[in-house]
Subunit: 274 residues, 2 copies
């Protein structure tokens, strides 16, 4: 999806919500557990219930890989369904990949290639291995890298905030500064955790025009208001993710209705900021 | 596999070679291409040809994911074969994963859990997200984290060598220093690229007793001699990986024999260092 299409979609749905499809067979409603294709059936119901209130879906690969080969098949059923659906959505594989160039090219093939099993719009990438681990993901037109900058977890403090002696910048700022030269605002976004919203201003100083994918609202404790105050730009420039707060709003037979309700609540708050 | 068993295996086979199963359907011999289970057939032939000369196998997940859901099935056929085989080998999933704690637990289930589809001994992890992204992988007895410290690619220079103002340590040294407190020498190894062999002495100052997984010998240009000179410790402490140099030594019908030959050459050099 091109940036202009994503911005149009945000304006049309008055939402910059991303729904995290972190589907865990131990947490889905009991009446679905044990059914064939249970993960897909759960995802399909969540998608049908939430697509009018969000612009993006983000399955985290870990949850599918935890189900083994079968889990990947369920993920493919899910992305196939999303591609067939009449309504558009931006599809992010939250995979946090990254390897030497030769290998990153294979990951790009796996997730972003139009002929791949999944054909995602975007893939999250860890920056530790530097430029040649990231640029192989930028070869497919209208596909995106979502590079980790400042993550939402406690461990973010271990390395991401260390200050580089040579440049005076913290590691996450170095990542932003260096990677701006690898891609453009049309093919590269950044992960910035909502739990570190006070640093969004620092992020925006370096990448004022880039889209940011913001996890950590909801279960992880981040505030939507803080994120909007510091993160919005003229094209919106935000995709705010909620996973558990939406998809596990109920574990009864009303799970899809409750997910719709939670997604709609967030959408209505977002509409006021747009 | 326990550390003591790995050390015994190294002594028994007089080898610390790890064979990288980076199986690419475009590069395997023509007579296998198009056959059902071609990737597995290729891997099986390589394993049968090399197992007397190596102690470990390291499939890189990217190559299997690039084949889609089917690729993961081929990987499972491969690990199933290795588990069935009478001869022992240490099995490393080169996946470079790492995510928030809740999610890392799922990746651990996917690759390390004894009941998982793959049941690997070890998994490579990227350290960018810090402690709580790494420790969830340390819960399975006799299973290992292989943490990226100093990688073999050019991009390693982008961030891994930046010097932290507070500690005066380079990032990879900070990763080594901090992570020593997360695991032990019995459940944590480090990736240190052979192309940076001159820094192995710096690595050894911080983690003298840890095992190191060393990629980059062969196709990437690293020297086995340099690696041994700076990297060996009293328990050997090294697993040196070669992928393309062994598995693609020939792309004719003699590929397995030529792979055996290349593995044996490395094993013989290694035997002299042990």
């Amino acid at each position: 999806m091109k940036r202009a299409e994503l911005v149009d979609l945000i304006r049309e749905r008055k939402s910059f919500l991303c729904v995290g499809l972190d589907t865990d067979l131990d947490k889905i409603p009991q009446h679905l557990q044990g059914q064939p294709d249970a993960a897909f059936l759960f995802n399909k119901a969540i998608i049908d219930a939430t697509i009018d209130y969000c612009v993006a879906y983000k399955p985290n690969l870990a949850f599918y890989e935890a189900m083994g080969v079968e889990g990947l098949r369920q993920l493919k059923l899910t992305t196939d369904y999303l591609h067939r659906l009449g309504k558009k959505a931006f599809l992010i594989a939250d995979a946090k990949r990254g390897d030497i160039g030769n290998t990153s090219r294979q990951y790009a093939r796996a997730f972003l290639a139009p002929e791949s099993d999944f054909n995602f719009d975007a893939l999250t990438i860890a920056p530790y291995m530097g430029e040649d681990s990231v640029t192989p993901f930028l070869v497919y037109p209208d596909k995106w890298v979502v590079l980790l900058a400042l993550t939402s977890n406690k461990g973010a403090f271990d390395f991401q905030l260390t200050e580089d002696k040579a440049t005076g910048r913290r590691l996450f700022e170095n990542v932003l500064e260096r990677s701006r030269q690898w891609g453009t605002t049309e093919n590269m976004m950044y992960v910035v955790g909502a739990t570190k919203a006070e640093m969004l201003a620092d992020v925006r100083r370096i990448v004022p025009d880039s889209f940011l994918l913001v996890p950590g609202v909801g279960a992880q404790g981040g505030s939507l208001e803080e994120v909007c105050r510091h993160g919005l730009n003229k094209d919106c420039g935000l995709l705010v993710n909620s996973s558990r707060g939406i998809i596990y709003a109920s574990n009864g037979t009303d799970f899809a209705d409750r997910a719709a309700e939670e997604a709609r609540k967030l959408q209505q708050q977002m509409a006021q900021w747009l």
